[in-house]
């Protein structure tokens, strides 16, 4: 071994501390600390606003520790503590400035309340020392987390995230489980009392320990369990698998009854996004064709159902069709639109394709808004009076019945994408994504392959739009803004490009969570942007990457253990 020098990089530590401080100041000044302070993660102890600040300090400390050349030792921890303390000092300066001068003319959120939060309600100067102390302590935690072995670190991270998630969703969990006898006792103990929000202190500790220990146990024993499973004879393996499917099926069937009206509604809108995500995943994830006008097919599906089924109103036509009759027509029209868009862009790649499809999406929206088409599709007034469909005599007019339609659609889309992914067509798509010229030279018909990708993607989106039409009962052009396309694309990126389970993860994160946290809707896009930037830096392959993708982007890490053995 070479001489163990305690190299301590002051410059980097200072730099990281200041960057962390800058992020903290930004978070405070856009009003997130103040606004998020109204909700607690741990009742009466830790608010969401503080969680945000502590998280910034923790990440600052963690990165400071990892920046040190011999990070896994004392210099790393010192660096973490110092960097996080610098972060806290920057925040203190902010608090002092806000307290001393009235900045609200320029910075609306630099309010006395912010100072109160930052100083633990102790006021300047006492609170500031506490703030710096807290920063250093959290930095120490970040440094220690960095030293921990990988699997323990992962378990700790998962435990902390679970505490945050449960604390955040406390109200919803409590409401949806309130009906069950026996559970309510546990809930009372786990969550804050009365009007308090978030977990109780004991609840938070229990959740953390259970999740972290469970994760640790699973990770150490998973290979053994897997080996055990593989040792079983084929027959019992198959029956075990079917048992798993059976349980899953029952859970899906009974979910709306457990969740209640509001949560089912959230699941429904998430489901529609997942359905679209599965489609776009084929176009962008598998075939590598960047489509930014994906909302167009969603709109076409919705408008077709709207026009064909509506029974009264200002429109010229009153077809008054049955929804089940209109649905295949809507999906076919979306497919047709997919092909019509596909033909002119056959020879376009990358940026050019993105811009043309972006234009296509806007054209469809503007057509829907136009006065020219107003007699037939309602213009800016949209289409009202879309009747709810009936299925075997049951009127599908509330979230809990519509849920089954959406789940059926999602399962169908999931099934088709999975089958196609593993087939000849799926291979052709992936080959196309990797190298279009060579793919063609291997005998792949580019025209058919590309058009099939556009068509399949459009079909899923059209299906999603059709269901949206009956879900809302009215549709307006502004429901089909560019933002929907971007949302679906972001969902795929966050989940993992080309990964089918990734679509579900992305859907829950980017469509489900924002529904649940409606009160913070104004920060939605900011958080989206931050999430995307962080994802690109830290985990570019997504939360649940396609198996081959992971090997591509974390190649350097995969090589390391092999070198260590050699």
């Amino acid at each position: 071994m070479s001489t163990t020098q305690n190299t301590f990089d002051w410059r980097k530590t200072l730099q990281l501390g200041l960057i962390g401080g800058l992020v903290g100041v930004l978070i405070a000044l856009v009003g997130m600390v103040d606004e998020f302070d109204k909700r607690d993660i741990v009742a009466g102890t830790l608010s969401m606003g503080w969680t945000l600040l502590l998280l910034t300090a923790l990440i600052t400390g963690y990165f400071a520790a990892s920046m040190m050349p011999k990070g896994r030792g004392l210099p790393g921890i010192v660096s973490a503590v110092v960097a996080s303390a610098i972060f806290a000092v920057v925040m203190s300066v902010l608090a002092w400035l806000v307290d001393r001068f009235d900045l609200r003319q320029v910075l609306v959120n630099a309010s006395p309340n912010l100072v109160k939060i930052l100083t633990f309600e102790q006021g300047v100067p006492n609170g500031l020392f506490m703030l710096i102390g807290a920063g250093a302590a959290v930095g120490l935690l970040g440094g220690v987390i960095h030293i921990l072995p990988d699997r323990i670190r992962k378990a700790v991270a998962l435990g902390l995230s679970m505490v945050a998630l449960l604390g955040l969703l406390q109200e919803i969990i409590q409401v949806s489980l309130a009906g069950f006898e026996g559970v309510s006792k546990a809930l009372e103990w786990m969550f804050g009392k009365g009007t308090e929000k978030g977990l109780s202190v004991a609840g938070a500790i229990v959740v953390f320990i259970v999740v972290a220990a469970g994760n640790l146990l699973w990770n150490t024993n998973a290979p053994k369990v897997n080996a055990q499973f593989n040792k079983l004879p084929q027959k019992s393996r198959r029956s075990l698998r079917w048992l798993g499917y059976g349980i899953l099926f029952l859970v899906i069937i009974y979910l709306p009854a457990v969740l209640g009206l509001y949560l089912t509604e959230v699941v429904n809108s998430t489901g529609l996004f997942i359905l679209m995500g599965l489609g776009l995943n084929i176009v962008v994830g598998f075939a590598g064709l960047l489509d930014l006008g994906y909302v167009a097919f969603y709109a076409i599906g919705a408008y077709t159902v709207g026009v064909l089924t509506n029974f009264s109103g200002e429109l010229t036509w009153h077809f008054g069709w049955n929804f089940w009759l209109a649905l295949p027509v809507a999906v076919s029209l979306a497919v047709l639109a997919g092909v019509v868009l596909g033909v002119p862009v056959l020879n376009m790649r990358g940026d050019y394709l993105a811009i043309v499809t972006l234009g296509f999406g806007e054209i469809i929206r503007i057509l829907a808004l136009s006065d020219f088409l107003k007699p037939s599709i309602g213009g800016s007034q949209g289409i009202v009076n879309i009747p709810p469909p009936q299925f075997l005599g049951v009127l599908i007019n509330n979230p809990q019945t519509l849920y089954y339609v959406i789940v059926a659609g999602a399962i169908l889309a999931l099934f088709i994408s999975q089958r196609l992914r593993d087939s000849r067509l799926g291979r052709s798509w992936k080959a196309l994504r990797e190298d279009e010229d060579v793919a063609q030279a291997m005998g792949i018909n580019l025209v058919a392959t590309k058009l099939l990708a556009f068509a399949t993607g459009a079909a899923f989106s059209g299906l999603s739009g059709s269901i949206l039409a009956v879900k809302l009962g009215t549709i307006y052009p502004h429901s089909f803004a560019l933002l929907i396309s971007i949302n679906v694309l972001a969902l795929i990126i966050v989940g993992g490009m080309g990964s089918i389970p990734g679509v579900f993860v992305g859907g829950l994160l980017l469509a489900g969570m924002p529904e649940l946290l409606r009160e913070f809707a104004e920060y939605r896009l900011l958080i989206y942007g931050a999430l995307l930037v962080v994802m690109m830096q830290v985990r570019p392959e997504g939360f649940w990457p396609e198996a081959t993708h992971k090997r591509e982007l974390h190649e350097a890490e995969a090589v390391k253990p092999a070198e260590a053995e050699a």
């Binding site: 196609l420 067509l425 291979r427």
Partner: protein, 273 residues
Amino acid sequence: MTAILTANNVTKQFGGLTAVNSLNVEIPDQSISSIIGPNGAGKTTFFNCVTGFYSPEMGEIHYRGNRIDGLRSDQVTRLGVSRTYQNIRLFANLTAIENIMVGFEPHLKTNWIDAVFRTSRYRQDEKAAHEEAIKLLRFVGLAGLGDQVARNLPYGAQRRLEVARALASKPGLLLLDEPTAGMNPHETLEMMHFISNLRDSFGITILLIEHDMRVVMGISEQITVLDFGEKIAEGTPKDIQSNTRVIEAYLGRGAATEGMATGERAPRRKTTH
């Protein structure tokens, strides 16, 4: 011997530059033939004309009696011409097996409906493709590496995987663009054996572009020499080694014949821009 590939008067221009000029080539069936020439002589351009990447301005290319110039590259492949690339162009994020299975594409008959319903036709097709891929993987000596992502394979393995992918389409004519580029002498020797073995095992015709004179002289039965897009010589290795125009093209006018005759690696002429 009958010719499997004939090029008549093929001319390819890029703007004012004539990359290939009235080229006439006949490649004998089941032979190993080479195209050599200094950098920028138009060798790869000719390959691109044959495989449908480029469409020549003039002339005709026939493969087994079918006119193939001007066809799309997938059509050319389906007729039985397959190729590898000078700088390896594998599907980098697909596994080795998947790469080869993509090559099997011309022989798959099922469509997406078969895939969704997993019809027996589809299962047969996929099984055939998979078995073929495993067979080819063994043939090129990559058994056990099938589930590796192509980009993680070592350089030599990538070259051989590219050959395996080209073979998957069951070609009658295989074009290899500098198969030994970037290899050390030992690997080069291995690749030479591999190429002759390929012809004997599959009964196919092989046409290669190559810079390494030991390879060219060692395995070719016919050599075509290009310079500035024109054919300057054609014949057996012996003919070529003693051809003065070839020596001039490689070494400059008046250069000693020593280098070529003893099989030293010819220095590449600097391209002027």
